[in-house]
């Protein structure tokens, strides 16, 4: 079902301030291309455990630790791969009915 609020997206990494910030920017670019309004935050894995985002994005070594944190968990190896992330977001958000 469609969300009646802004999508909340969390970019995670180990320290939560460098790599995840880069990922956040890549995600914002991808979301802009998809025409999706979302709030993207970045943090470390431990802090992420206390949060309730709609979507989590990170490298496999981190998303495997928080696989149940959100309805949509996306694993990406290349934090600068906007096209790859856009494709995954399109597929997974469409599955949820959040993108039509």
């Amino acid at each position: 079902m469609a969300l009646d609020r802004q999508l909340e997206i969390l970019a995670v990494c180990g320290v939560g301030m460098g790599s995840s910030l880069m990922l956040k920017m890549t995600a914002e670019d991808a979301l802009r291309s998809l025409g999706i309004e979302a709030r993207v935050e970045n943090t470390d894995v431990s802090t992420a455990r206390g949060m309730t985002p709609d979507v989590v994005i990170g490298q496999g070594m981190h998303t495997s630790e928080i696989a149940d944190l959100a309805p949509v968990v996306i694993t990406i190896s290349d934090f600068l791969d906007k096209d790859g992330l856009e494709a995954q977001l399109r597929e997974r958000l469409t599955e949820q009915g959040w993108l039509s």
């Binding site: 990494c13 460098g18 920017m25 981190h62 600068l80």
Partner: protein, 145 residues
């Protein structure tokens, strides 16, 4: 004001030495304290090689309280690439080390760095003719809009 520095043709026997040397450039430039390089090594030991955030490139960093004195970015180009044990992005020939005095001061600099990397900065750094050209390319990429 972001401190920018570059080191070319650096030799490292393994990823730890590469990370240490990349971060030491920030210490030498006065942007980080003496404990920062080891803190950067610990980040990878404790959290995995996720800092290899795209093919061949590692973003070396630790928390500000580990010795960040100013916002600094150092590019290190290795003579011979090293393996970090990353499932997809090994081997690494370029290291971008950064430090920041607090959790917010670096956001503008890193945002510019991210934009520049998306626009092909890594290729530009790999094609640089030497240390001073490396530094020039990085400075251009981080220049204020």
């Amino acid at each position: 004001m972001t401190v920018v520095t570059a080191a070319d043709d650096v030799t490292a026997g393994d990823w730890r030495e590469a990370v240490r040397k990349a971060a030491s450039a920030l210490v030498d430039a006065g942007a980080a304290g003496g404990g920062y390089p080891e803190a950067c090594v610990r980040v990878v030991e404790e959290n995995g090689p996720y800092i290899v955030l795209t093919k061949g490139l590692a973003l070396v960093h630790a928390r500000p309280e580990e010795g960040g004195l100013a916002v600094g970015v150092a590019v290190t180009r290795l003579a011979v690439p090293v393996e970090f044990g990353h499932p997809d992005n090994d081997p690494v020939d370029l290291l971008l080390a950064f430090c920041t005095p607090d959790p917010d001061a670096h956001v503008g600099t890193l945002s510019r760095l991210a934009r520049a990397l998306s626009a092909g900065l890594a290729d530009r750094l790999r094609a640089a003719s030497g240390g001073s050209d490396l530094a020039r390319a990085l400075k251009e990429a981080l220049a204020d809009d």
